[in-house]
Point group: C2
Chain length 443, copies 2
């Protein structure tokens, strides 16, 4: 339930937020101090035993419930402002909390407490001939900054995941949810302190000043270890371009389903419809369907008709346009577009090499699926497609930390460094080497 899409914000509001940043001379010292406090808290959180971190998470959930009145009142103010500002219904819906939704937020925090402890896992162990015993041990990353937008539940979700993984969090809420997020952050602090942990382990940036984002991207004098942007494409692009610290993010989720010549038609139809239409606004939704010409004569028409009947617009190459008059011509741009809507681009490809080349050329290295009964073809696709997630005979909509069994995710990354694919609590960890000797010296 915590696996949010990346549509926390319309691109218009993202642009507005970014465009109105100013020099923020008052914000700089505020943010420096916040970074220093986070770094100090991080060390205490990193050393806190699992039981204490879980106790804090449960106390946080309890505080979210006991403070429901003030949280919902703050949300009502945010909603009133958003309505007065002319925000659309979808925006209002993302921003809105009610008793039931707030209870879901608290349940999500409780479920994070129930996850296995990612800290202290023995990732590898071996002994050298000289008797030195080596252990690679999972440790927290340090301080994680999360920049998000209108969904106020991200405050609790991100804070909980950072705490579970032994990290301190700096949370930057969108202006529109600032009051709600401030009240939620107060509940998180109450929970931390109830468990004897520093309240500064989860800090919400206490200003709407847009200069705070720029300050975070500098890394605040080395106090921030990684930045996670949770929002629209313009926010992610800006963070990826300007951050001086590592970023866990994906800019695009231009995902593909390739129906191979040896695909079962019924399975292909179910997977294509699900991959495209189960939810069109999530990053794992399929945007392009590639059909092998080896099965196009039997499979292309039923797949296209099924999509059209389900209310999906189809933009196709010449072969696809020949299927149905409702298919419009796909442009070069369509192959590279993450529609996030009931639109799909469809192309017939002459074989698996062409399918892989198309994905390499237009894709975003996020999630791709092959449908085939041919294990060798599946093996090639899974090996050669350079994406974070590659699936055989399954829907791309499984691109989600919850579906992976991670319990929850803070986002999905398409970079190759450190974290790739769904970023759960394990990926919010680093590691260290513990070496056990009996007096060994190096010759």
């Amino acid at each position: 339930m915590m696996a949010l899409g990346r549509l926390d914000m319309t691109s218009e509001s993202a642009l507005r937020i970014i465009a109105t940043e100013d020099a923020g001379s008052d914000v700089a010292p505020l943010m420096q101090a916040l970074g220093q406090r986070a770094r100090q808290a991080a060390r205490l959180i990193a050393l806190a035993p699992e039981e204490q971190r879980n106790r804090a998470l449960l106390a946080m959930a309890q505080a979210l419930r006991s403070r429901a009145g003030s949280i919902l009142a703050a949300n009502a103010q945010d909603i009133a402002d958003a309505r007065a500002g002319g925000q659309n219904a979808a925006f209002i819906d993302r921003l809105l909390l009610d008793g039931e939704r707030l209870d879901e937020v608290a349940i999500a925090v409780t479920s994070v407490a129930a996850l296995p402890d990612p800290v202290g896992r023995v990732l590898a162990t071996w002994t050298q001939p000289n008797g030195l015993r080596f252990e690679r041990i999972a440790t927290p990353l340090g301080v994680i900054a999360v920049i998000f937008e209108s969904r106020p539940n991200v405050t609790a979700d991100a804070g909980a995941l950072c705490l579970k993984s032994g990290n301190a969090a700096i949370l930057r809420a969108g202006s529109d949810s600032f009051r709600t997020s401030t009240e939620i952050a107060a509940a998180l602090r109450e929970g931390l302190e109830a468990a004897g942990l520093p309240g500064d382990a989860i800090q919400l940036v206490p200003t709407r000043d847009r200069a705070a984002v720029g300050a975070i991207l500098t890394g605040l004098d080395g106090t921030i270890d990684v930045v996670v942007p949770r929002g629209g494409k313009s926010l992610v692009a800006r963070v990826q371009s300007d951050a001086r610290v590592p970023v866990f993010a994906h800019l695009d989720g231009n995902c593909h389903v390739y129906v191979h010549g040896a695909a079962d038609l019924a399975m292909a139809r179910e997977i294509v419809l699900n991959a495209k239409l189960r939810r069109t606004g999530v990053c794992g939704s399929a945007e392009t369907l590639l059909v092998d010409e080896a099965c196009a004569s039997t499979h292309l028409a039923p797949l296209v008709e099924a999509l059209l009947e389900a209310g999906c617009a189809v933009r196709g190459d010449a072969a696809t346009q020949a299927i149905d008059a409702r298919v419009t011509a796909a442009t070069e741009l369509d192959w590279a577009t993450e529609f996030l809507d009931r639109i799909i681009a469809v192309k017939v490809v002459p074989g698996i090499d062409a399918a892989i080349d198309h994905i390499e050329r237009y894709g975003s290295h996020h999630t791709e699926a092959i449908v085939t009964a041919d294990e060798a073809a599946a093996g090639r696709f899974l090996s050669e497609v350079d994406s974070a997630i590659v699936l055989h005979n399954a829907s791309t909509q499984f691109a989600d930390g919850g579906e992976f069994g991670f319990g929850a995710e803070i986002g999905i990354a398409t970079g190759r460094m450190h974290a790739r694919g769904p970023v759960g609590v394990e990926q919010l960890c680093s590691f260290k080497y513990r070496v056990h000797g009996s007096g060994q010296i190096r010759p």
Copy 2:
């Protein structure tokens, strides 16, 4: 033998190299084209089977031997220039190749071929209740840029490690070793092509123009995935400060040995002498000795005398100065200094908390050791000291990929992202998720 220290360059020469960079308008298109070729080669190398990569490594070693004449002739010219430029004996020695040293370079490349394949390792596998089977598989990172200085063998070492791990390499040699590195790079290209792999998989920057470094640090339009600086502190600092791509590096190796109250004196003496003096110029050499006051009355004097007798200067706190008139007063700066010389700072601390606090305050998160017979104290030290490598009853000089059993290392990292500690071929890999289904769609 491939675990080089970070003293490839005097800080003077590093500053000279950095300070004389110019706008480099001619260099920009050259570097862009080089980056594009690297990215294209990276895809072919990533998909090359283990056998082919190993065959290329063996052919590279063979080409290094068959081209010995031109390599040594180029080295003689580099050496002549360095002598004419007034470089000191240590610098000349780092730069110098002879038949024996070149043979060692070839042997090192052969030994990389013998390492287990890091690509395609199954890092984890599990099945979800819906029957989806997940695999986390090691994949190459992509394109790795290595910026190094006078040691020409780094050309072959770094190129071999990148190829073994399925990555393309962009190598930037120091001006002083440019001719030698160019000849070595030609041998590597010959080996790649002999095995049917693209020669562009290992490219040496074909100019001494200092603007090439700045171009690499931009990431060359996303064609570089990670930068590894191999050189003096000013080079590393500049790369860490300016790179717009991830960096694997350590700026300082201010390593500590803590002699706990329950330490065996004979073991402590052996470890302290080895950690400080086996080689003083490597990043894992100890720079500060902390002695617990619980054993100071019995252990401090023998440890200090042993260091002094071995020719090591000792800078101590008041208690240490009282041991021997040759001990000078340690300043605040000494605690934070990586001497890389026969100098050690010595302090008596009131207990393990003070030892850990001192390391946290002055250390560089690289490598620290505790000497003690008390397992509980060792456990606390290994858990609470936030360094890449923490050792119990062993010398800090084991901070080396070869000693870890990694076969070879491209460097040692003190960052927390992706790689930490010795960076071997496994750390030069990323990963992807392969998901095996039987028609699953997401409800």
